[in-house]
């Protein structure tokens, strides 16, 4: 009685045999399949094993309580309830199977035609689908009953038509997906007929999702059929689960137990079908049962073997009070499904001084971004700081509460992401995304915040600030979006700006401009800038100090001149060599001449 949204189940990786076997290993699925098997057996032999004739009335048996001769008693017309239940199973299951068969044939055939041939088939079938979905099934069935009479078989045939979109969409989606696959082309070139291609390469792929969908459609058909009979518009003499429910409902004040048996079989059968479908879908998606984000964290113990220390090049005039961000022995790990922990940052120590530009360089996967996220307290789900300390201007951030982090974020530490487009909320204007933090975090009035946002947009080099302010993210270019993100990051005057590969996603010409902008803003505001990058050119161009990261550790750190003129660690040398290889041959190179690409 409820319309269901149909999402195509995933394409299976393994065959049906193994799926069934896998299902039988799950207790929920095992019990459900067992129950359905019993129902199936009863549906076949129910009539034959009925102890009494389900149609014969006996005055003695009217609303009779359960007894030895009639284990479930008698109904309002004096018929044996058990016999009606057994025989009714045959009719109810048979009727639901009819609906399923009609839906399968129409849906699969339509989906194959529309998906494989496209064109007119496609248009017509999608229009028919929306037509069929436009009315509640029960209204259509009532209208059909008014025109065609009370036959359950007619109703279920029509219901099958109404449910066919469930299969149509599934098959259509799969067919459109594989139609242009190379192996289908190859089969066509090899001269296989369309029929064989469809059968072998298309239907075979969607067979498991179709079976799952069948279970769901079967459940809905059973419910709808029972609902129709319950309304009393079917042939009430014929025993079926729904008509028995109808009879019980009429006696709800005197003998409500009559409703129990049919209600129980309907509910259990529907549930078993949905549970089997759900478990099968989970199996196909290979999703292990979600343990939730707050599962008990795995134990982590510090490794016994100490990591080699980073090579530190000291520079003159280093005073401890200059240090703004003081990271010591930071270890970051992700909980794994097997209960272990994968370490992505392994003992990073990093000092960032007030007003300096610090480059954090290394190849992708070396742990740069994870280090940056740890400082912001924004590690993705499953990740956490396992050990070490992050001291930001006297505030310890490791283990700090969300409130402490929230107070530091935006106001004191800000962040410019890598990919501009995905980092703006598509549902809000750029202006409102700039104004919101200024009002909430810095407590500006709406007017002040707006004026400041426009100033900032102008400052970051956006030609028409007013227009960009009222634009949505999808209306501006990537370069503009990145400038807007930079404006947002500096809007609450942070002391430290973390730029995570802030130019990687941009056009080459725009990259240089954005880097210039970052440096200008940094100088103007005297803020520290942590530049996370894999590009040595960027480092050379902008940074005062550099830390080189490899496999979760910092291998070398020091002033940019030292790192360039006298790299000690072989990895730094390798990175260095890579950039030399990239640049055009010139005379002797001094580090400052290596410009951003």
């Amino acid at each position: 009685m409820t319309e269901f949204t149909v999402t195509p189940p995933p394409i299976p990786a393994a065959g049906r045999q193994s799926l069934l076997r896998r299902l039988l290993r799950k207790p929920v699925a095992l019990v459900s399949i067992g129950f359905l098997a019993v129902v199936a057996v009863v549906a076949v032999v129910g009539r034959a094993v009925s102890p009494h004739d389900p149609y014969t009335s006996s005055l003695d048996l009217v609303l009779a309580p359960p007894g030895a001769e009639h284990p479930l008693g008698g109904d309002s017309a004096g018929r044996d309830v058990l016999s009606r239940l057994l025989t009714g199973t045959q009719i109810s299951i048979g009727a639901a199977l009819l609906a399923l068969a009609v839906a399968l044939v129409l849906g699969v055939a339509g989906g194959l035609l529309a998906g494989y041939y496209g064109g007119v088939f496609d248009t017509v079938s999608s229009w028919l689908t929306s037509l069929v979905m436009a009315l509640p099934a029960i209204i259509v069935l009532l209208a059909a009953r008014a025109a065609l009479g009370p036959s359950i078989w007619v109703s279920m045939t029509i219901f099958g038509v109404l449910m066919s979109p469930a299969f149509h969409r599934l098959v259509y989606a799969s067919v459109s997906a594989v139609r242009h696959e190379l192996y289908v082309d190859a089969a066509r070139v090899a001269g296989l007929s369309d029929l064989r291609i469809i059968g072998r390469h298309v239907l075979w792929v969607v067979r498991a999702p179709i079976i799952i969908q069948s279970a769901i459609v079967m459940g809905i058909a059973i419910a709808v059929q029972a609902g129709l009979e319950f309304l009393g518009i079917g042939d009430l003499a014929v025993p079926s689960w729904g008509s028995m429910l109808n009879d019980g409902f009429a006696q709800i004040y005197s003998t409500p137990i009559l409703m129990l048996w049919p209600a129980l079989v309907i509910a259990l059968t529907s549930m078993a079908l949905v549970l089997v479908a759900n478990t099968a879908r989970d199996e196909l998606e290979r999703v292990s049962p979600r343990r939730g984000r707050r599962r008990r964290a795995a134990e982590w113990s510090a490794p016994q073997v100490s990591e080699p220390a980073a090579i530190v090049h000291a520079d003159a005039g280093d005073r401890p009070e200059d240090v703004l961000l003081h990271v010591r022995d930071l270890v970051v790990g992700y909980d794994q499904d097997d209960g272990g922990i994968k370490e992505v940052v392994r003992g990073v120590s990093l000092d960032i001084r007030r007003g300096e530009v610090h480059g954090l360089i290394g190849e992708s996967g070396s742990g740069k971004t994870q280090t940056a996220f740890s400082v912001l307290g924004l590690l993705p789900a499953g990740g956490r700081v396992l050990a070490g300390s992050i001291d930001f201007g006297g505030v310890e951030l490791v283990g700090a509460s969300e409130r402490v982090h929230a107070a530091v974020r935006g106001r004191r530490i800000a962040y410019v992401p890598q990919e501009p487009m995905s980092n703006l909320d598509p549902s809000f204007t750029i202006g409102s995304q700039l104004v919101e933090p200024m009002r909430v975090v810095a407590g500006l009035s709406k007017k002040e915040a707006r004026a400041r946002a426009l100033d900032l947009l102008a400052r970051v080099g956006i030609p028409d600030p007013q227009r960009t302010f009222s634009s949505y993210p999808h209306q501006v270019s990537g370069g503009m979006a990145q400038r807007a993100l930079i404006a947002g990051a500096v809007s609450c005057d942070p002391e430290l700006l973390i730029a995570d590969e802030a130019t990687t996603a941009l056009d080459v010409t725009v990259q240089a401009e954005v880097l210039d902008l970052l440096r200008d803003l940094q100088e103007e505001r005297g803020m520290a800038l942590l530049l996370v990058t894999h590009n040595f050119g960027v480092v050379a161009d902008l940074c005062d100090r550099v830390s080189v990261m490899q496999s979760g550790r910092i291998v070398e750190t020091g002033p940019v001149e030292t790192i360039f003129s006298a790299p000690q660690h072989e990895y730094t040398r390798a990175l260095h060599a890579a950039i030399l290889d990239d640049s055009t041959p010139r005379g002797a190179l001094s580090p400052r001449e290596v410009s951003a690409p």
């Binding site: 009315l135 709800i252 912001l376």
Partner: protein, 313 residues
């Protein structure tokens, strides 16, 4: 945006028109059958002929349809063959009752489903598993069985609510509320499950989005990020689900009205169907189709107001 809505409106009109044509063909195709159904199996052929002529069923089907359509366009849907009641009055007088229940269930399902979905997505762990189990059960158990269980438990056993008897909202709001509490609960349960599942998925997905991290990095609180940004972006898909669910609720109401003896469209539909009161059935089908088209339009407008890409196109 205006263009978009106009197109949707137009396709809605075409849809209603097509449905009326199909329904008319189905219902009026076998005129002899209709007369016999009214008069009973023992009626003589002569009587059947006379009835057929009286109802105008002896004319060709296209002729009959054009006449019906001309009248329908003027708001005239004919009279019931049995009670003589105007179809238009019959439908409109019961329309509000059904609508109040179905809209009530839709709103309850939207609110409760969203809450459950958000809680499941943000809390995780046991809360999440509980919501998941509830979703599967709510999806699997037919709504009218839930309605029957509610009647048995709360009306007959506990006597908290009256099992039957509808009080119009215009008579007494609290009276209406107590008379629709159980029906709405029974109707809404499955939709709550579906909405919760959808919202949970969208919120889990949304929380992993890059822009959510960036908004957090600006110092916005978790609560603010979820209520303002994550939920706003989850709204679109949830509304699409709700549009489909509304049609299901309308169908569910037919059965639930029967259980709670609520004098709505469902009751009218069942009695008209059993008697083969064709003009009434026809009016009901058209009314339902129009309602579905209107609801879809409203959802389209809501979608557009949530999604700037739709709004600005």
């Amino acid at each position: 945006m205006g263009n978009f809505l106009l197109r949707r409106l137009l396709s809605g009109v075409v849809l209603v028109f097509t449905i009326s044509l199909l329904a008319f063909t189905l219902l009026y195709a076998n005129s002899e059958n209709i007369a016999r159904r009214i008069l009973g199996q023992n009626a003589t052929a002569e009587l059947v002929d006379r009835k057929t002529e009286e109802l105008g069923l002896n004319r060709s089907l296209p002729q009959q349809y054009i006449e019906w359509l001309t009248n329908a366009l003027q708001g005239e849907f004919g009279k019931s063959w049995f009670t003589g009641e105007q179809v238009t009055t019959g439908v409109t007088s019961r329309f509000g009752v059904t609508l109040s229940i179905v809209l009530g269930a839709t709103i309850v399902a939207a609110v409760v489903g969203t809450l459950l979905g958000v809680v499941a997505a943000t809390r995780g762990g046991r809360t999440d598993s509980t919501v998941q189990v509830f979703s599967v059960l709510g999806f699997a158990i037919p709504g009218f069985l839930v309605a029957l269980a509610l009647v048995l438990l709360f009306s007959i056993r506990l006597g908290w609510f009256k099992a039957t008897g509808y009080i119009p909202i215009t008579t007494s709001f609290t009276g209406w509320l107590t008379s629709v509490t159980l029906p709405i609960t029974a109707l809404a349960l499955a939709t709550i499950a579906v909405v919760a599942q959808q919202v949970r998925g969208s919120v889990v997905d949304g929380l992993g989005r890059d822009y959510v991290r960036t908004l957090r990095s600006r110092g916005l609180s978790e609560r603010r990020v979820i209520t303002k940004h994550v939920l706003r972006n989850a709204g679109g898909p949830a509304l699409a689900v709700l549009a489909v669910q509304f049609i299901g609720l309308l169908g569910g109401a037919v059965i639930v009205e029967q259980i709670f003896a609520i004098p709505g469209l469902g009751q009218l539909a069942v009695s008209a169907t059993v008697k083969a009161d064709i003009p009434m059935v026809m009016g009901l089908v058209v009314a339902t189709a129009v309602l579905v088209v209107i609801v879809n339009l409203v959802i389209d407008i809501a979608q557009a107001s949530l999604n700037p890409k739709v709004r600005l196109s």
